[in-house]
C-alpha cells in the first residue's frame, strides 16, 4: 500500500487521533502547533497556534466541534475545530501530559505531571460552555496522585469511570462520582505509554516500555491478551472491523549505541487480537513510532513518528483476505 506522507511538523510527533467520523486526522508534536489534515487525501486543513511548549496530548469531542490540547507550557487549551481559534485556556502548575473528552463531550479529564513540588493530579472539568471564563471555573473533580505519575488516560464506558495508565506500569480504574480508586492492575513492568479503546469501549489496549502491549477488559481490568515484541511499544490501537491490533514503537535514541544503518526500518507491527501472533509489519519510518491510530472505518491506519512524519496507509485487498487457519 502506498502511504500518504504528511509533513507538517518540525519535531517528533507525540500523538495522532482521528475524529469520530474519520474524515479529519489531528496530530500534535514537540513543535508548538498541532495540525489537522483531511485523512482522505492528506491535505492540511490548518494549524492551531498558541501553545509555547511541546504539545503532549490532544483529543476531539464526538461532534468535531472542539479540539483540546495539553502542552508543556502548563496550559490546556480548547479550540474551535473549523476555524482554529482558541476558545478557552486553563493554566496549570505543571505540564499537561494527558487529556480526553468524555463520551458525551460534556466533560474533559486531563492530568498534570509531577514537577517542582506539585504532585501529579487528575482534573475533571465541565466543557459544556467554553468561553473566556473557562479557566476560572472550578474543576468538577480533582484527584492527587501520590505514587507513579499518570502517563495515559481514557474515559470508561458511559462516562462513569476513568482509566489511567502509570509510569510504573500499573493501570487503575477510578470512580468519577467519588474520586476513589476502584481497581488496579499490575501487569506491565515498565511505563504505560499509550492506551486506546476498542470500538464498543468494552476493552482497551495498553502499550508499554516493557516491550509488550496488553489487552484489558475496561470494566474489571482483567488481563486478556499479551502481544510481545523486542522493542519498547509506544502506541497500540485496535481495529474497529477485524480482530487485529497494531503496535508502534522503537528504541529511544539515547538508548541505542549502534543503530541499524538501514534507513526506514522502524516498523508498525500487526498482531492477531486473539491468537497474539504477529502477521505483518509495515516499514517506512525513519525513527521510532510514537503514535498509531486506526481510521474509524478500519480501512486505513496512521502512524506518527519521532522523525516528524505522519504516514497514512490504506489497506489493500490482501489485508482483508488474510486469515489465520483455525
Amino acid at each position: 500500500m502506498k502511504p500518504l506522507m504528511l509533513h507538517g511538523h518540525e519535531r517528533a510527533i507525540t500523538q495522532i487521533k482521528y475524529n469520530r467520523e474519520g474524515d479529519l486526522l489531528f496530530s500534535s508534536a514537540k513543535d508548538h502547533s498541532p495540525n489537522v489534515w483531511y485523512s482522505l487525501n492528506g491535505e492540511r486543513l490548518g494549524t492551531f497556534n498558541g501553545h509555547s511548549g511541546a504539545v503532549w496530548t490532544l483529543d476531539i469531542d464526538w461532534q468535531t466541534r472542539f479540539f483540546m490540547s495539553g502542552a508543556a507550557d502548563f496550559t490546556l487549551r480548547i479550540w474551535d475545530c473549523s476555524t482554529g481559534t482558541q476558545l478557552g485556556n486553563i493554566v496549570t502548575r505543571s505540564s499537561v501530559r494527558t487529556c480526553a473528552f468524555s463520551y458525551s463531550g460534556n466533560m474533559a479529564v486531563f492530568t498534570t505531571d509531577k514537577a517542582m513540588g506539585h504532585p501529579c493530579e487528575i482534573f475533571v472539568v465541565d466543557t459544556r460552555n467554553i468561553d473566556s471564563s473557562f479557566s476560572d471555573n472550578d474543576p468538577i473533580m480533582r484527584i492527587p496522585i501520590s505514587d507513579s505519575k499518570v502517563t495515559s488516560i481514557l474515559w470508561g464506558a458511559l462516562d462513569e469511570t476513568i482509566l489511567t495508565g502509570h509510569e510504573d506500569g500499573t493501570v487503575k480504574i477510578w470512580d468519577l462520582q467519588s474520586g476513589k480508586e476502584l481497581a488496579k492492575a499490575r501487569e506491565h513492568t515498565n511505563s504505560v505509554n499509550d492506551m486506546q479503546m476498542n470500538k464498543d469501549q468494552s476493552m482497551f489496549i495498553t502499550a508499554s516500555k516493557d516491550n509488550t502491549a496488553r489487552l484489558f477488559d475496561a470494566n474489571n481490568l482483567m488481563a486478556l491478551k499479551v502481544y510481545k515484541t523486542e522493542r519498547p511499544v509506544n502506541s497500540a490501537a485496535i481495529s474497529p472491523i477485524l480482530d487485529h491490533v497494531v503496535l508502534g514503537g522503537g528504541q529511544e535514541a539515547m538508548d541505542v549505541t549502534t543503530t541499524s544503518t538501514r534507513i526506514g526500518k522502524f516498523d508498525s507491527r500487526f498482531f492477531h487480537l486473539v491468537f497474539e501472533e504477529e502477521f505483518g509489519r509495515v516499514k517506512g519510518h525513519f525513527g521510532p513510532i510514537n503514535s498509531v491510530a486506526f481510521h474509524p472505518d478500519g480501512k486505513s491506519y496512521s502512524s506518527g513518528g519521532e522523525d516528524g512524519y505522519v504516514r497514512v496507509h490504506t489497506f489493500d485487498q490482501s489485508y482483508y483476505e488474510f486469515n489465520f487457519d483455525y
Binding site: Y103, S202, D325
Partner: protein, 614 residues
C-alpha cells in the same frame, strides 16, 4: 594443612640428636573419623618435587603386626549409581542439547534442539554464580560458586561431584574428562592457587602455588590424559599421571622457550624457542615420554610464532611472523627493537609421513585469522589489509606442498568458523563488520548463502555440523540480545529474541563409536535412510500445525464467549449512550441518518490523448 580434617589434639615431631626432625610426625585427632579422612586424602600426596606424604593410622601398626594368617574376603563397597551420564546421546532423533545463559547471567537453562521447536530440559535460576562450562566430551556441566565448582550430569542434571576451592575463577578439564584443574587467584592464605582433582572420586591430587597466571590453561594435557605440562622461565615441566610427579623427576631445560602445544591425537608436543642474537629460532617436536626430538626446524628473522594443530593431528601449522629489517632505536639507554617489513610464513608439518617433512607457504600481507578444517586437509586464512580482505583456501596432501585451492577476494569478514565435521565453513564479519555471514561449501568452493545478523558477537556450530547459531550477547552489548539458528547451508531457521541473553554453548559429543569404514557404509546407503527421515519430518510438522490449529481454535472459542458478553452489555446500554449524545445514534458510522450530507466529489481518474489530425 592437616588442620582441616578435624581438631588436632596432639602433635609430636620426633627429633634426633641434632634436634632436626627425623622426617615424620605423629598427629592425634579428636575424632577417629577425622583421622580416617586425613589418611585417605593425604596418603601418597605429593608435597613437592621430592617429597611424598605417606600416611597411616596409628592403629594400622597394630593391624599389620597382627595380620591373621587366614585371609577374609573384604566386604564390597556399595555402588552408588550415578545414573546414565551419557543418556543424551541416546536421543532417538539425535537432537543436540545446548545450555543457555540469560537474564544477564542469573538463569541457566538446558534446551534440547528439537524440531520444530526446541524444548526446555532443565531450568534453574542461580544455578551458577559466574558462568558455565561443558566438559570436553559433554558428560558434565560445571558451574561456578564462591566456594568451588560443582559438576552436574545425568538425565536429571543431579549434582555428580563437588570440588571446594574458594574463590575459583578458571577451570580446565583434561581431554578424557578424568581430571579437573581449578585456579583461584585470590584464595585464602593457603597459597594453593592451582589444584588438580580426580573427577570421579573428587579427591585432590596435586596442588601448585603459582603467582599470577599469564595464559590459562597453565597446564596443558596430552590427549590421553597421561601427561600434562607447563611452561616456565626457560624450562618445560612435564608431569605424569596418576602419580602426578615430574616425568623422570626433572623438568626439561629449554632456554628461551616461548610457547608449546600438545598434538590433539598423539603424545607429541611442539614448542618454539625465540631467536637470540645469532642463534636462529627453533620449532621442535618432542615425543613424550621418551623426550626424543622427532623433528626440529630452524628459522631466521623470526618476530613471533603461533601454533595451530589440525584437529585430527595429521598436520601441524606454525605461523611464523618474519621481518626483513630490524630497527634498533636508542632511547634512555635502552634499545627498543621494532620490526619492519613483516611477512608471514606457514610452516606445515606432515605428521603422518616418515621423517615429518615440512612445507612452507609465504604470504606477504597481514594475516587476520587461520583455521584448519577439523576433518579433512584444508586450511583457510583471512589476509589482506583493511580495505581489501581476502580469504584463501589451501589443500594439503600427503607428499605434496600445500596448494592454493581458491581465493575469495574483497570479503567482509574477520573470523572463520569451520563445521566440526569439515567441508562447510562460515565466514563471519563480527562486531565492526555488521555481522555479515557467508556459508561456503568447500568441496566446490561455492557460496551457498549469504546472510546477516546485525551486531552478532558469537558464532557456534553444533557438534554434528547441522546447525549454526549466531548470537548477540548481552555481555558485549545491551540491545537486541538473542540468537538465531541457521542450517549449515545458510538458511535462517529461527530467531530467538531473548532479553539478557549471554551465551549459548552446545553440549559436546564424544567421538563417534563407528569406525571409518562403517561411516562410509552409511554415507553410501544414505538414499535408503532418507525416505524414513522425510516421512518422520513430515509427520512432525503436520502434527505441529495441527496442534497450533487446535490451540487457536480453543483461544477463539474462549474469546468469542467473552465477546458475546460484551456485545450483550453494549446492546443493553444503548439507551444510556443515546442520552449522553443528545439522542444522536453514533454506534455505527452510518447509523446517524439525520446528520448525513451527501457530497459529490470529482476525482481525475484517467487522461487520454487522442491525436485527431497529424
Amino acid at each position: 594443612m592437616y588442620g582441616k580434617f578435624g581438631t588436632i589434639i596432639n602433635e609430636f615431631y620426633p627429633t634426633d640428636e641434632k634436634n632436626v626432625t627425623k622426617g615424620f610426625i605423629f598427629l592425634e585427632y579428636k575424632n577417629p573419623s577425622d583421622a580416617v579422612d586425613a589418611v585417605n586424602a593425604t596418603n601418597n600426596y605429593k608435597l613437592d618435587k621430592q617429597h611424598t606424604f605417606l600416611v597411616n593410622h596409628y592403629s594400622d601398626f597394630e593391624k599389620y603386626s597382627n595380620i591373621p594368617d587366614e585371609w577374609t574376603v573384604p566386604e564390597p563397597q556399595e555402588y552408588k549409581d550415578q545414573g546414565n551420564l551419557h543418556y543424551y546421546l541416546l536421543d532417538p532423533d539425535a537432537y543436540d542439547q545446548y545450555c543457555l545463559i540469560c537474564s544477564g547471567g542469573s538463569t541457566v537453562q538446558i534446551w534440547q534442539n528439537a524440531a520444530p521447536e526446541p524444548t526446555v530440559v532443565e531450568e534453574r535460576p542461580n544455578w551458577t554464580e559466574t558462568y558455565v562450562r561443558w566438559s570436553p566430551l559433554g558428560t558434565y556441566m560445571a558451574t561456578f560458586h564462591a566456594r568451588g565448582v560443582a559438576l552436574w550430569g545425568g538425565p536429571k542434571f543431579k549434582q555428580i561431584m563437588r570440588f571446594s576451592h574458594t574463590g575459583v575463577q578458571l577451570i580446565d578439564f583434561s581431554p578424557c574428562e578424568r581430571y579437573l584443574v581449578t585456579y583461584s587467584p585470590d584464595g585464602p592464605s593457603d597459597q594453593r592457587r592451582v589444584i588438580i582433582w580426580d573427577v570421579r572420586t573428587g579427591a585432590e591430587k596435586r596442588s601448585f602455588s603459582l603467582d599470577g597466571v599469564s595464559l590459562w590453561p597453565v597446564f596443558r594435557w596430552s590427549p590421553d590424559d597421561k601427561f600434562f605440562a607447563r611452561i616456565g622461565q626457560d624450562v618445560l615441566s612435564v608431569y605424569e599421571t596418576p602419580s602426578f610427579g615430574l616425568l623422570d623427576k626433572r623438568s626439561i631445560k629449554i632456554p628461551g622457550i616461548r610457547d608449546f602445544a600438545w598434538s590433539p591425537t598423539d603424545n607429541i608436543l611442539v614448542y618454539w624457542v625465540a631467536e637470540d642474537k645469532d642463534v636462529p629460532a627453533r620449532v621442535c617436536l618432542l615425543e613424550i615420554p621418551s623426550r626424543q626430538e622427532v623433528r626440529a626446524n630452524n628459522l631466521f628473522n623470526v618476530a613471533d610464532c603461533k601454533i595451530h594443530w589440525q584437529k585430527s593431528g595429521d598436520y601441524l601449522c606454525v605461523k611464523v611472523d618474519r621481518y626483513s629489517k630490524v630497527k634498533k632505536e636508542k632511547n634512555d639507554a635502552k634499545y627498543s627493537v621494532s620490526f619492519c617489513g613483516m611477512y608471514y610464513n606457514f610452516e606445515i608439518f606432515h605428521m603422518r609421513e616418515k621423517l615429518i617433512p615440512v612445507d612452507s607457504v609465504e604470504i606477504k600481507e597481514p594475516i587476520h585469522a587461520f583455521a584448519w578444517e577439523p576433518v579433512g586437509s584444508k586450511f583457510a586464512i583471512i589476509h589482506g589489509d583493511q580495505h581489501s580482505i581476502n580469504v584463501s583456501f589451501y589443500g594439503v596432501k600427503q607428499g605434496q606442498p600445500p596448494s592454493l585451492l581458491k581465493k575469495f577476494e574483497k570479503r567482509q569478514c574477520n573470523h572463520l568458523f569451520w563445521s566440526p565435521t569439515g567441508q562447510f565453513i562460515v565466514l563471519a564479519g563480527l562486531r565492526s563488520m555488521h555481522g555479515s555471514l557467508e556459508f561456503i561449501d568447500t568441496n566446490e568452493f561455492v557460496v551457498m548463502n549469504a546472510g546477516e545478523h546485525y551486531t552478532a558477537s558469537d558464532v557456534e556450530w553444533d557438534p554434528t555440523g547441522r546447525y549454526v547459531v549466531t548470537g548477540v550477547s548481552s555481555w558485549k552489548q545491551k540491545v537486541d540480545n538473542g540468537f538465531w539458528l541457521w542450517s549449515f547451508q545458510g538458511k535462517k531457521l529461527k530467531k530467538h529474541n531473548i532479553d539478557g541473553f549471554c551465551q549459548l554453548m552446545w553440549r559436546p559429543r564424544p567421538p563417534s563409536l563407528l569406525s571409518a569404514k562403517q561411516q562410509k557404509e552409511i554415507k553410501k546407503n544414505l538414499k535408503k535412510y532418507t525416505p524414513q527421515f522425510e516421512s518422520k519430518d513430515r509427520m512432525r510438522s503436520t502434527r505441529a500445525s495441527k496442534e497450533l490449529i487446535e490451540k487457536r481454535c480453543q483461544l477463539m472459542k474462549t474469546f468469542e464467549e467473552y465477546r458475546q458478553k460484551n456485545i450483550q452489555a453494549w446492546n443493553e446500554a444503548k439507551t444510556r449512550r443515546l442520552e449522553l449524545r443528545n439522542n444522536v445514534d453514533t454506534d455505527e458510522l452510518e447509523s446517524d441518518t439525520k446528520n448525513v450530507e451527501e457530497e459529490e466529489i470529482e476525482f481525475l481518474v484517467k487522461e487520454e490523448h487522442t491525436v485527431i489530425e497529424e
